[in-house]
């Protein structure tokens, strides 16, 4: 490092060598991604938790000791050898219900985000690429939807449309797009000025081809990061709605509606096995997804040089 370099570099950090920015050989982008992701220990653990939860959700009938809606002989029973996590007030096996609930939470999380991403991406692409009055129109509509407090709007719509798993997915999806639309629009505005997009315009490619083959692939990373935290948010929203009695309805088990039983004082005080495990499951899954989202943000960041 010569004097000139030393003079102009940061106070504490030495200048990164080019070898560090472009690691030896040409490390493939997947390898680079994995290496950066693995640095986040909590995210790796989180990914493990998500995989286990997904497996539980898929193979629920094989793992669960009982049917989640079948009433067994004992009700409100404390954990025992027969029922590892006890039974609820109606006499359904708590462990089986916890396992089956993973299905509800994951399908609401992923399903609603898929809908939100589809709507948001298309509107964002159109808004950003065409600009002008189309852009103003779409952005003002986005503002309108964002003005309503999210939970309140969902509650209102759910009270009119009615509760249930499918309705939950649709409501959360259809109302969840504004954030994604803004994000995509912002990215498109920057990409539109990129040389390669201008080149494709000059080459006379059709607009859909430019939008979907040239611009969209370059906004996938931010969408993915946003969607990850969106899944966590949707799981929390579903839990809150089910807790309030407007989401997934019993007998279908969901962590949220299992917690609703704790609104009764007897359950809260003397049957903690009924409300603590579902709460812990929500925290565990949401925390894991958020950790993974954070690691994705780091690993997919183009400014990241480590």
């Amino acid at each position: 490092m010569n004097l000139f370099e030393r003079y102009f570099t940061g106070r504490k950090e030495p200048q990164l060598d080019t070898d560090m920015i472009w690691p030896e050989g040409d490390e493939s982008s997947i390898k680079l991604f994995t290496r950066r992701f693995k640095k986040h220990k909590l995210a790796v653990a989180g990914l493990g938790v998500i995989i286990i939860l997904t497996l539980c959700a898929i193979f629920a009938p094989l793992i669960a000791p009982y049917d989640p809606t079948t009433v067994t002989e004992s009700f409100g029973a404390a954990p025992s050898m027969d029922h590892l996590m006890g039974t609820d007030q109606v006499g359904r096996d708590q462990l089986s219900r916890l396992i089956y609930s993973a299905r509800v939470s994951l399908s609401v999380g992923v399903g609603s985000i898929l809908i939100a991403v589809a709507i948001g991406t298309i509107l964002g692409l159109i808004s950003g690429y065409f600009g002008g009055w189309i852009d103003s129109l779409i952005m003002r509509i986005t503002d309108m939807f964002m003005a309503f407090p999210y939970i309140m709007l969902i509650l209102v719509v759910a009270s009119i449309v009615g509760p249930g798993l499918m309705n939950m997915i649709i409501i959360l999806g259809v109302l969840g797009w504004p954030g994604i639309a803004r994000l995509v629009r912002g990215n498109v505005l920057t990409l539109k000025e990129a040389e390669y997009v201008k080149a494709s315009v000059v080459l006379g490619y059709s607009t859909p081809r430019i939008l979907f083959h040239h611009i969209l692939p370059n906004t996938v990373a931010p969408i993915l990061i946003y969607a990850t935290s969106g899944i966590a948010g949707a799981i929390l929203d579903e839990a809150a709605l089910s807790f309030l009695g407007l989401g997934v309805q019993p007998p279908t088990p969901s962590w949220g509606n299992m917690l609703a039983s704790a609104q009764s004082l007897t359950v809260l005080t003397s049957q903690p096995w009924l409300w603590i495990p579902p709460g812990v499951m929500i925290i565990l899954s949401v925390l894991s997804i958020n950790f993974v989202g954070d690691a994705l943000r780091d690993a997919l960041d183009p400014k990241n040089t480590k």
Binding site: F148, P149, M152, L155, A239, L259, G279, N290
Partner: protein
């Protein structure tokens, strides 16, 4: 600056009108027509039938919307379908407790998030930094109703030191101290959310500022480190936080719905839940609209504050 404010208000107006249209459309999906909701339900059926024709319920939707909108402009949100009270009065009487709850939580949440975020950024990768970031993740990942139940379990049932419901003790005068005791647990829950969301915002904003050249200049001038941080770094790091605070308002409204339900806090959120449970659509719609208007006004104020604070923003265009 004046022009900027005027322009910003003019952008807000179509959004406000749009919000009323969305609200009207959702209302039309609910049983009972929106114009029905304006009529006091005490009126006998024959008079109602005559009123229907008079009000033009057979008219096309946009005419109905316009008539509803006209009432709205006069501050008429219609009558509750259950209690027959004017919706506006019901909302106004519940607004105070909710604003108290939201205001205190927002202030404490920010008072925790800002110093912690700044410290976390200055000591990046230290133990404190890891603790703050992990705490922030917990704050956004723990469902607020679960935290609320946990607090009730610990402080009301187990330790018996805090009241679990209401804003004042039943039958008492409900002085300042009493309200304060009732406020503690709901505020803890909402504060955990606010602080959780904002610690990482402040931290990353501060990290970005710490790399700026003007900080190096300030140090090169021989300024003390505390001065460099407090004068030059923190001030600039907090500018983007203003926008984030504006976004807290709608989230806090949502949080209030759940929290007020758990702690029986007599505010907007509890009114929302009870109207939903009793299918009181006129009240639900009035609440939804009021909340949206408050959010739009809050956003407007945020944008104006941002422009006032950040000299880089050009007011005229």
């Amino acid at each position: 600056m004046f022009n900027y404010v005027i322009r910003r208000i003019f952008i807000a107006i179509p959004v406000l009108i749009g919000v009323t249209i969305i609200n009207f459309i959702i209302m039309s999906m609910a049983p009972g027509s929106p114009v029905d909701m304006l009529i006091s339900p005490q009126i006998p059926a024959e008079a109602l039938a005559a009123k229907r024709i008079e009000l033009g319920l057979d008219a096309p939707a946009y005419v109905q919307y316009l008539s509803w909108f006209k009432h709205l402009l006069q501050g008429d949100l219609g009558y509750s379908m259950i209690t027959y009270e004017p919706v506006l009065n019901m909302i106004l009487s519940r607004m105070g407790p909710t604003l108290l709850l939201m205001g205190v939580s927002l202030i404490i949440g920010v008072a925790i998030a800002v110093p912690l975020g700044i410290l976390s950024a200055r000591k990046q990768y230290s133990k404190l930094d890891y603790a703050a970031v992990t705490g922030s993740f917990l704050g956004i990942s723990v469902p607020n109703f679960f935290l609320g139940l946990g607090l009730i379990y610990v402080f009301s049932i187990w330790l018996k030191i805090l009241p679990s419901s209401g804003m004042t003790t039943l039958g008492s005068e409900g002085g300042f101290g009493d309200i304060l005791l009732h406020l503690i647990m709901p505020v803890i829950v909402l504060t955990a959310n606010v602080a959780g969301r904002n610690i990482r915002y402040v931290r990353s904003s501060m990290l970005e500022i710490l790399e700026q050249d003007y900080l190096r200049t300030a140090r090169a001038k021989g300024l003390k480190e505390t001065l460099v941080i407090n004068r030059h770094a923190v001030r600039n790091a907090l500018i983007p936080i203003i926008t984030v605070l504006g976004m807290e308002i709608p989230i806090l409204f949502g949080g209030a719905v759940v929290i007020e339900q758990i702690f029986s806090w007599p505010g907007i959120g509890q009114l929302t839940m009870s109207s939903i449970m009793s299918r009181d659509y006129s009240t639900i719609m009035g609440l939804n609209l009021t909340a949206a208007v408050i959010v739009i006004v809050a956003n407007l104020l945020t944008d104006i504050t941002y422009a006032l604070v950040d000299p880089r923003i050009k007011y005229s265009k």
